[in-house]
């Protein structure tokens, strides 16, 4: 991968994640999942594809094509929606950083 790709690969690794959606108490109902991007570390904000929460819309997927609908607030989905986010060991999160050597050590340039 060419040198120009270093920053892009780091950005991809640090922000990439997977998101899964399931129904509380109904694991047999299956789950939906997709990829996502970590936009902010703390508080954690993630942007992912809306297709995984469409099955939970109280008004059904027709709400997505209602004229002029550009956004729907979070409570448009039923209360049994459970979302989980998972990321890699080098993601932009404290867990990733704690893996990188113990705090207190430093690498002074010569």
């Amino acid at each position: 991968m060419g040198r120009q790709w270093g920053p892009a690969m780091r950005a991809a690794e640090q922000t990439g994640c997977v998101v899964s959606a399931s129904r509380a108490g109904q694991p047999e109902a299956g789950s939906w999942s997709c990829s996502g991007v970590i936009l902010s570390r703390s508080p954690g904000l993630v942007l992912c594809h809306g297709g995984i929460v469409a099955p939970f819309l109280r008004a059904g997927s027709g709400a997505l094509t209602a004229a002029g609908a550009a956004y729907l607030p979070g409570d448009s989905c039923s209360d049994d929606l459970r979302l989980h986010v998972q990321w890699g060991p080098t993601a932009a999160s404290p867990a990733g950083r704690s893996e990188r050597g113990l705090p207190g050590l430093c690498t002074p340039q010569c």
Binding site: L45, G50, V85, A95
Partner: protein, 456 residues
């Protein structure tokens, strides 16, 4: 891309963070994306297009497919519940965003997603795929970086501005008329995040505070001209309309366009040529030469009634190097409803007869409508050939956009030069008398070996 070492790859298989609970803040879409989607894929074209996460003939109920299509341009903003390390977490945006329109067509892109989503993240989390920005209609972008189901929502990054987020994957798999298109549908990140800011601002105060946490745009401020048309050499690609048939072509001289015979089959037929770059121009012309049906070279030459001004004429290549990076520029997939698409790949084979190149094969994504378009060297921008066809397996009906055939420009160059200078068609007429071994190659048959002589 160069082969020099990049950053050490992260060793796969290291333990992932346990899944963290999150709550839905907002479902949002980019109205301009949906408008362009409806224009390009709706109406009469709708029945031809499929974006299912499963292949066209996989069992997906009509309702499920309808739901998927409705949700295609929608994205979800989630807030991750703070974990134990909340105190140690570093605040601030995790990524910078490329301004809308700042990435020109043909620019290399890096897609990062997890095929099959949460099915097996230890193995598939954040896999990478490379391609270029193939086309753009407002915030609706297309890339030839190959993505798989589950990568929806994944980020697409550019090398310049370094590591900036350009878009999110909206639909990884597209089929048109049951042909896999080999392009991935993206929604530009900048307009999507602007829509998120606007929506958060109109929700309750707690949500509005989140707007400040959304990542900033880097590089050129808004208002600068939208993305420039991409590589200079791509400007020579034109759309060719002959009656009800349309295809692609390439301007090889200010008044001369080369296309395929199956696009403009009849000599003296009138043809409309549309150029999209540097400005939208429509010029009439007529077919001055088309090879016979029996010729293996599927070529036609159009003479224009006026000059194609300001279009840089391509330099014809003299040599071909298997493995070199190449680009195809053509009006496949969308035709005249938006400018030409750029797809990238390598020159996968140069087929020779008596040491003379007679066929080029590439791994670029080539679709119906790209015929007649130019094949360029991605490094030099030289014109390598004219795209003639891709591949269909007659047994299964499957089409392979990433195996396609081009006529080397060296086969045409001298004859075109002679016609340009003298108006004389003799050189072009020779294309109707290609030797039998050349015909065998273009019939995709095994070149005749030495016929085994009987021992009797």
């Amino acid at each position: 891309a160069g082969l020099e070492l990049g950053p050490p790859a992260r060793p796969r298989g290291r333990p992932l963070q346990p899944p963290r609970p999150a709550e839905l803040v907002l479902l949002l879409s980019c109205p301009a994306f949906r408008a362009h989607f409806a224009r390009l894929f709706g109406g009469a074209a709708a029945e031809q297009w499929r974006f299912a996460s499963a292949a066209p003939d996989d069992e997906v109920s009509e309702d499920e497919e309808e739901d998927q299509l409705r949700a295609l341009g929608w994205f979800a903003l989630l807030r991750v519940r703070p974990g134990r390390e909340a105190a140690a977490e570093e605040r601030g945006p995790a990524v910078a965003v490329a301004p809308f329109g700042a990435v020109p067509k043909g620019s290399p892109l890096l897609a990062c997603g997890s095929p099959f989503g949460a099915f097996c993240p230890d193995i598939f989390l954040n896999t990478l795929s490379r391609g270029v920005l193939s086309n753009a209609a407002g915030p609706l972008l297309l890339t030839d970086a190959r993505c798989l189901p589950g990568t929806e929502g994944g980020g697409v990054f550019t090398g310049r501005p370094a590591g900036a987020l350009v878009a999110l994957v909206a639909a990884p798999l597209c089929w048109k008329a049951r042909e896999w298109v080999g392009l991935t549908l993206l929604c530009a990140a900048a307009p999507l995040l602007r829509a998120a800011r606007a929506a958060l601002g109109s929700l309750h105060a707690g949500a509005a505070a989140l707007a400040a946490l959304l990542p900033p745009e880097v590089g050129a401020p808004w208002g600068l001209p939208l993305r420039d048309p991409g590589p200079l050499w791509a400007a020579a690609a034109v759309l060719v309309e002959c009656g009800t048939v349309w295809g692609s072509g390439v301007a090889v001289a200010p008044r001369l366009v080369v296309t395929c015979r199956h696009v403009a089959p009849r000599e003296a037929a009138r043809v409309l040529v549309r150029s999209a770059t540097p400005k939208n121009v429509v010029i009439w012309g007529h077919v001055v030469f088309a090879t016979q049906e029996t010729s293996p070279y599927d070529i036609a030459v159009v003479s224009l009634e006026e000059d194609l001004d300001d279009v840089p004429m391509p330099v014809s290549a003299e040599h071909f190097h298997e493995g070199e990076a190449v680009s195809v520029v053509g009006f496949g997939v969308f035709g005249q409803s938006c400018g030409p698409s750029v797809t990238s790949g390598i020159l996968s084979a140069v087929v020779r007869v008596d040491d003379t190149p007679v066929m080029l094969q590439t791994t670029c994504a080539v679709h119906g409508g790209s015929s007649g378009g130019p094949l360029f060297s991605a490094h030099s921008g030289d014109l390598l050939g004219i795209v003639a066809s891709n591949t269909r397996d007659n047994n299964t009906g499957a089409t392979y956009p990433h195996l396609n055939f081009s006529i080397p420009i060296t086969v045409l160059q001298q004859a075109l030069q002679r016609y340009s200078e003298t108006g004389e068609l003799g050189g072009l007429r020779q294309l109707d008398h290609a030797a039998e071994p050349v015909r065998v190659v273009w019939r995709l048959q095994r070149p005749l070996g030495k016929t085994p002589r009987s021992k009797l």
